[in-house]
């Protein structure tokens, strides 16, 4: 795989930031977009636009086919059994809310427990939190170990006879820990507990096979997968989508509407109420093409080499402390610098065109546990190079110089 050729496909890198080349190290937050995705949005609006699934005219039929085509592409990409197991949402956040809301409504009662982990992003905690008030459920958190990992044992220890749902991240957006989700799923199923995986950080970087993992739900944000914003995917086993109640009500998700009552449409319409993010769905098809052209195995290899290199470079830098030390680590490098707050680091790095994120990264529970109010985070994508990590390190040294004056 030739990174330079890949990078050329991303028009953002033609721009300068504070007169410097852009060193984009914030892909865990959101990835940049290849030209083909941007073009697809433009072409759709200029040549092919129509709403989908409603009218019978030429444009409407063509748009509907394109929209459904992305569903099938996504089904194949994650090896789901059935295209109807792919539900489009506005993001992973909505996907998780959908499950928490509908599963909670139908299956949870006072005293039931939901098991999360200390690594979870707020979007895999807050939707479940609502059920505390609404249903009187209890939320437990499986604890991380000293390396910032969640092990199978930690999950096993936290399961009780009252655990009715396990919801965990695939890959921590702070420590980079990759969870053994296949083993955890099999453990959950052996206790008859369904499992939701927050796949936000998994999907852009790791090969996915829903039938192999066997999880019940998997939530994805397309904007982290070189796709448009405003779009997510909920993978859910068909048995769940058939049994759970609808989430939002509106046009497109109904069969018959009478003054006395309503019957709901079939999958996948049941969960896609109202006009959807049509252009984004169609453009997301190009993101899948883009990923397939490179090959996810090549992406995994490239990013894992880069991550190791980044760890090496930062470990050699005495003032840097890496956050977490997971054995199985995704392309996230969170760190702190002695005596310099993460937000000061981010501002100083920005001056050099180095874009990182600083703060708690929507993981306050984890930061409390680590005793840190904020961390700096460099995260990688398919377009990053070793040179980017060297520039990161140089800028970090500049931070120290400024602060040691």
């Amino acid at each position: 795989m030739n990174v330079n050729n890949i990078k050329k496909q991303f028009p953002i890198f033609n721009n300068k930031v504070h007169n410097n080349d852009l060193v984009y190290l914030d892909s865990a937050n959101s990835s940049q977009k290849p030209q083909m995705v941007v073009d697809r949005i433009y072409d759709f609006y200029t040549k092919e636009f129509s709403n989908v699934g409603r009218s019978v005219h030429y444009l409407a039929v063509a748009a509907t086919n394109l929209y459904e085509n992305t569903r099938t592409m996504m089904q194949k990409y994650i090896n789901a059994k059935d295209p109807n197991e792919i539900v489009f949402t506005k993001g992973a956040t909505e996907a998780i809310n959908l499950v928490a809301n509908t599963f909670g409504q139908k299956f949870l009662r006072e005293g039931d427990e939901i098991l999360l982990t200390e690594l979870e992003h707020h979007s895999n905690y807050v939707p479940w939190h609502y059920l505390r008030k609404l249903k009187g459920v209890k939320i437990n958190f499986a604890e991380i170990n000293n390396d910032g990992e969640i092990t199978l044992e930690s999950i096993e220890k936290s399961i009780t006879p009252k655990t009715k749902m396990i919801a965990i991240t695939h890959l921590s957006n702070v420590t980079g820990a990759i969870l053994p989700i296949k083993e955890i799923t099999s453990l959950a199923h052996s206790r008859n507990i369904p499992i939701l995986i927050d796949g936000c950080q998994g999907a852009p970087h790791l090969k996915l096979d829903m039938q192999d993992i066997d999880c019940d739900f998997y939530a994805i944000s397309c904007h982290k997968m070189y796709g448009p914003t405003g779009l997510g995917v909920l993978y859910a086993k068909k048995k769940w989508l058939d049994t759970l109640p609808p989430y939002q009500g509106g046009g497109g998700m109904i069969r018959e509407v009478k003054k006395e009552g309503i019957s709901f449409g079939d999958l996948p319409n049941k969960y896609e109420a109202g006009t959807m993010a049509t252009a984004q769905v169609i453009a997301f098809g190009e993101s899948i093409k883009f990923l397939n052209q490179i090959g996810i195995e090549n992406i995994e290899k490239h990013e894992s080499e880069l991550t190791k290199y980044g760890e090496e470079v930062l470990r050699k830098n005495n003032s840097v402390k890496l956050v977490g030390n997971p054995k199985n680590k995704g392309s996230v490098l969170s760190f702190t610098l002695d005596g310099i707050h993460a937000h000061d680091i981010a501002t100083i790095l920005d001056e050099d065109g180095v874009a990182i994120r600083a703060g708690h990264h929507c993981c306050q529970i984890l930061h409390d546990k680590l005793g840190l109010s904020a961390t700096a985070r460099a995260s990688l994508g398919v377009y990053n190079t070793k040179d980017d990590l060297d520039k990161l390190n140089e800028s970090i040294n500049k931070c120290k110089k400024i602060f040691d004056r």
């Binding site: 993460a342 000061d344 501002t347 109010s373």
Partner: protein, 156 residues
């Protein structure tokens, strides 16, 4: 405007060694402030005497260099000021950070104004303005004795 202006010596000095970073004994007013975006936290303590003078002011908290320096410089300047003067200073400072090129108040001298103006570098960094203003908003809450935590980004 560049980084050197944002991270001037005076800011680094106050940021690394904040003055009045302690808790006033027998304080009679206090308030907490929080900047959820950055995680900056500040807790301001005031002792106001019967003549409405600030006889002591201090703070506890953690945050970036800008927010710590701002709280440090602010608490230094507020000592022995009257309640009315504090309000005027806060308003003038916030006005300066928002849009005004200088501070207009006559309550403090030019030297003191220069110290506060050193924080004006954040104007070029819109995401960092809240770091500079957190302590000031929190001071206002403390003066008003409002129990509600000051949040630079109010949400539920």
């Amino acid at each position: 405007m560049d980084l050197k202006e944002l991270y001037q010596e005076i800011i680094l000095d106050h940021g690394k060694n904040p003055r009045n970073l302690r808790k006033t004994e027998n304080f009679n007013k206090d308030a907490k402030g929080h900047n959820p975006l950055c995680g900056d936290k500040v807790h301001i303590f005031l002792k106001i005497d019967e003549n409405k003078n600030i006889s002591d002011i201090s703070f506890e908290g953690s945050g970036c260099a800008i927010s710590m320096a701002s709280a440090s410089i602010m608490t230094d300047l507020m000592k022995e000021k009257k309640e009315k003067e504090v309000k005027e200073l806060v308003e003038d400072f916030l006005q300066m950070i928002k849009e005004s090129p200088e501070m207009k108040t006559k309550i403090i001298n030019e030297n003191e104004k220069t110290k506060l103006m050193s924080l004006s570098g954040v104007k070029q960094y819109p995401m960092r303005v809240k770091c500079a203003t957190l302590a000031w908003h929190t001071l206002t809450s403390a003066m008003n004795n409002s129990q509600e935590e000051t949040n630079t980004e109010k949400f539920d």
